[in-house]
């Protein structure tokens, strides 16, 4: 089953790369026009096209690129004329750092709040935590970011710019990236928390929980030992979805906090029609989704003895 899922994943990625390629082709203009902007003349645009092979037909360029990728070569960035890997590696590292950082804050908070909310269902605590989380998710990310800057950066507690690089020491990275991580935490917590709450409440309605209650098990233990293990599947799925979102969808937060991550790279790639960069980042994003979903499925399977011992 795992092999089949992986093969399907690879096929998805290839189809996706074709789709992305066609979309970037469909956009008006090309790299030559984009980097010359207002200074373009027919002569200098033609010269750049010749130099970079942009005058070749689109399908030739796509197949050339695909051939390279299958051999592990993602090609060169058209604009920088440097290998893509060089360009992406530091940014991928930054993005993964921010994702993990946020996950370390957000996932425990979301799970604990979700469990507590299901334990004290319909209490004031439940309502307040729900309202707070929903308000945070309802505000646009950039606004949450600016509010964070207003309260924590202008007063001098935390820096407003998370401009980290490969040489930044780990602790300083944690300090520099605190505000973006906090902003993203506010953005993703609600979804995970509410799913935890809903999944546990769902399980709490089942007869075996009633049995446990009749046995006299404490309600706290009912949730952690009886309900949670059976609610893991939906929770893990939502956590995976949110982690994938943290990898792929944070470009606005990156811009607000001047964080050099992958999202910004992709936006610049699209802006300058740098197809290989767009393709490579899109593949990373898609792999993150495919991979994390696969992982979530594996964890839910393991968590469910009925699925594990199917045969």
């Amino acid at each position: 089953m795992l092999v089949k899922r992986l093969a399907l994943g690879v096929l998805t990625l290839i189809l996706l790369s074709l789709l992305i390629f066609l979309s970037v082709e469909a956009l008006p203009g090309d790299l030559a026009e984009a980097i010359l902007g207002q200074q373009a003349t027919p002569e200098n645009t033609a010269a750049i096209r010749r130099e970079l092979g942009l005058d070749l037909p689109p399908w030739t360029r796509y197949l050339h690129w695909l051939g390279g990728v299958l051999q592990g070569d993602f090609g060169n960035s058209l604009a920088l004329r440097k290998p893509i890997a060089e360009l992406i590696a530091p940014r991928l590292a930054n993005t993964l750092f921010l994702t993990l950082y946020t996950a370390c804050i957000a996932v425990p908070i979301a799970l604990i709040l979700g469990m507590a909310a299901s334990l004290f269902r319909n209490s004031y605590f439940d309502r307040i935590s729900n309202i707070t989380a929903l308000s945070a998710i309802s505000m646009p990310e950039f606004f949450v970011g600016y509010v964070m800057i207003y309260f924590f950066a202008i007063s001098g507690y935390f820096p407003s710019m998370a401009s980290i690089n490969a040489g930044t020491p780990f602790l300083e990275k944690l300090y520099l990236c605190f505000l973006p991580a906090l902003t993203l935490t506010l953005v993703v917590t609600a979804h995970m928390m509410r799913m935890t709450r809903a999944a546990i409440i769902n399980v709490l309605a089942l007869p075996y929980i009633e049995m446990a209650r009749l046995k006299g098990v404490k309600s706290q233990r009912i949730i952690t030992a009886h309900a949670l293990p059976n609610a893991i599947a939906p929770i893990v799925n939502v956590v995976a979805l949110n982690l994938a979102y943290l990898i792929t969808g944070v470009v606005i937060v990156e811009i607000v906090f001047v964080f050099p991550g992958l999202g910004q790279l992709m936006v610049d790639g699209v802006k300058f029609r740098d197809v290989p960069v767009v393709q490579a980042t899109a593949l990373i994003f898609a792999s993150a989704y495919v991979g994390l979903n696969l992982l979530a499925d594996i964890i839910s399977t393991i968590s469910n003895p009925r699925l594990m011992r199917q045969r």
Binding site: A34, L36, Q38, T41, D268
Partner: protein, 554 residues
């Protein structure tokens, strides 16, 4: 533009007139010139009867006026992108102009704060043959960051990088007039032009024309970022951060470039730039949106810097497309623009009124208001021109996007309202920012555009308003104008040149397809820990992108 944080204090005002006053004046002059020490100055001043506070004020003043070496200049700049290469032909925006031209690789010439052109890599030049043949003297003793001497060979290869059919350079338009360029010994460069041009030295200050080391094969080494500039490259992370450090053997050390290090950060988001300045994460930022400039004034330890140069918001009409092919229609449209309202509402007052003339505040031969009266909002006059065109009403489309100029769509909306009084119906079409320069500008008959302006009249006119120019964005053809442009180029008598350029400005104003409502100010911010000269250059933002050379840390 002056800043007011530097009040002048004279100790001679404190003492009685007569001999003591003269002594006090001399004393202060000697001290300011560095002839006597601070201790001597204070003790002598006290002996003359000057208060301690007064003497200290002068010392502070002197400290502020004397350049101080050291420290790091941290700039937060727009226009950085992950696709930023060090190739001088592909410099596109403020970030790379600042890093390449300002810090790493100066050009042959540079523009001074007063708008004049001075030699940078070149120490001097002579023109002959009616401005067709030019000899440039390459400064002796200039060293590249790798220790190599800079010679005429490097200069020739650097300029050739932008010449010829195979050059994908954005600067190819600037050097299009060059026929041949060759070396003349180790320290001479001879340039032959297709036709005479008295502005060549100024042209050569263009930010694309960085002087890079020759690679020995007729090309240049731009990849390493090596140049002969005051700062050498330590780290370049495209679109994110560039760190440079003082080049120990910089030829002009002692006269400029006081910082030990310059850190340039790409901050595209205006709010992020402002908060970086407010939280002391950077020392200077460019491109403060007019909307938020007032906020800057309320920040502690932060000063606003405003310079109005030639940056212009324009609305070019294609003169070969109906109805803009009729001069009366063009004139009618020029009269329905309420320029003052546009300046106040779209640009929040930061700028100057435009007069449908691309020659702006940073040009020397700009026509005075007597020579070229300011065009004002006048719907009656617009109606009169419509009648002359044989029309009772007019419907046109104006294509705009913020890429054209910031606020272009709003400007269009204001224009639509003010045009109603003349019975003109303007439909404002919002275009996507993406691909604007290829699909809208010079394609749609009436669109929004901006020019950062050019330091010389001739340059601006021959790049955009000459009938055969690549960027003739009004498709305008006026024989008298073209003839005058050629005459002005070859003319060496300044008074006659002025007459020619003024007449050309009148022609563009009367006949051209250009509506130019506003010259936009550059609004910048800096922390008071920086010393900023009283006069800053207005050819580019951040003191002509030479802040790293002309500013210092107090």
């Amino acid at each position: 533009m002056s800043n007011t944080n530097n009040p002048k204090y004279a100790i001679s005002n404190e003492v009685a007139h007569g001999e003591t006053k003269a002594k006090a004046q001399h004393l202060q002059a000697d001290f300011m010139a560095g002839a006597i020490s601070r201790r001597d100055f204070i003790s002598t001043a006290l002996a003359l009867g000057v208060s301690l506070g007064g003497a200290t004020a002068v010392v502070k003043q002197a400290q502020a006026a004397t350049p101080k070496s050291g420290g790091r200049l941290r700039q937060g700049i727009t226009g950085g992108a992950t696709s930023d290469v060090l190739d001088p032909g592909q410099i596109l925006d403020a970030y790379m102009i600042n890093v390449c031209m300002g810090q790493l690789r100066p050009c042959m010439t540079k523009i001074m704060p007063d708008g004049s052109t001075e030699g940078d890599i070149c120490s001097g030049w002579q023109a002959s043959n009616g401005g067709k043949t030019w000899k440039f003297d390459v400064r002796k003793g200039v060293e590249f960051h790798n220790g190599k001497d800079l010679t005429s060979n490097d200069v020739v290869d650097s300029i050739r990088h932008h010449l010829g059919e195979d050059s994908g350079s954005g600067g190819s338009g600037v050097v299009a007039g060059i026929k041949t360029i060759k070396t003349d010994g180790k320290h001479g460069v001879i340039i032959e032009l297709k036709e005479g041009d008295g502005d060549l030295p100024t042209l050569l200050s263009d930010y694309h024309l960085n002087i890079c080391p020759s690679n020995g094969e007729g090309g240049i080494d731009w990849q390493s970022g090596i140049g002969a500039g005051p700062y050498q490259l330590v780290e370049h992370n495209p679109g994110v951060r560039t760190l440079t450090k003082k080049f120990a053997n910089y030829w002009n050390t002692g006269n400029e470039a006081w910082f030990d290090e310059v850190e340039t950060l790409g901050i595209g988001d205006p709010t992020a730039r402002l908060s970086a300045l407010a939280t002391n994460a950077v020392d200077a930022i460019n491109s403060v949106p007019p909307k938020t400039a007032a906020r800057l004034k309320n920040m502690r330890d932060v000063q606003t810097l405003i310079s109005t140069g030639n940056k212009q918001a324009t609305m070019p009409m294609l003169c070969d497309v109906k109805p803009f092919d009729d001069i009366n229609v063009r004139n009618a449209l020029k009269y329905i623009i309420n320029r003052q309202e546009m300046l106040d509402k779209v640009f929040f007052g930061y700028g100057e009124l435009g007069n449908d003339n691309p020659i702006g505040p940073a040009n020397i031969f700009r026509a005075t208001t007597d020579e070229l009266p300011q065009r004002a909002y006048d719907p009656e006059r617009a109606k009169h021109y419509l009648q002359k065109a044989g029309l009772s009403k007019l419907s046109v489309q104006f294509h705009a996007a913020d890429t054209g100029f910031p606020g272009a769509v709003d400007a269009g909306a204001l224009m639509r309202e003010s045009a109603k009084a003349a019975g003109i119906d303007i439909e404002v079409i919002r275009e996507p920012n993406d691909g604007y320069w290829s699909n809208v500008w010079m394609v749609k008959p009436w669109s929004a555009c901006f020019w950062s302006g050019r330091p010389t009249e001739n340059w601006m006119f021959s790049q955009v308003y000459l009938s055969t120019a690549d960027w003739n964005d009004t498709h305008w053809k006026n024989d008298r104008f073209d003839m005058l442009l050629r005459a002005g180029k070859a003319e060496t008598n300044q008074a006659k040149r002025r007459d020619i350029y003024v007449e050309m400005q009148q022609i563009v104003h009367e006949d051209g397809g250009l509506a130019l409502p506003v010259f936009q100010s550059d609004i910048m911010g800096y922390r008071t820990s920086m010393h900023v000269p009283d006069q800053i250059a207005n050819n580019w933002e951040l003191d002509g992108h030479h802040a790293c050379r002309r500013w210092w840390q107090v």
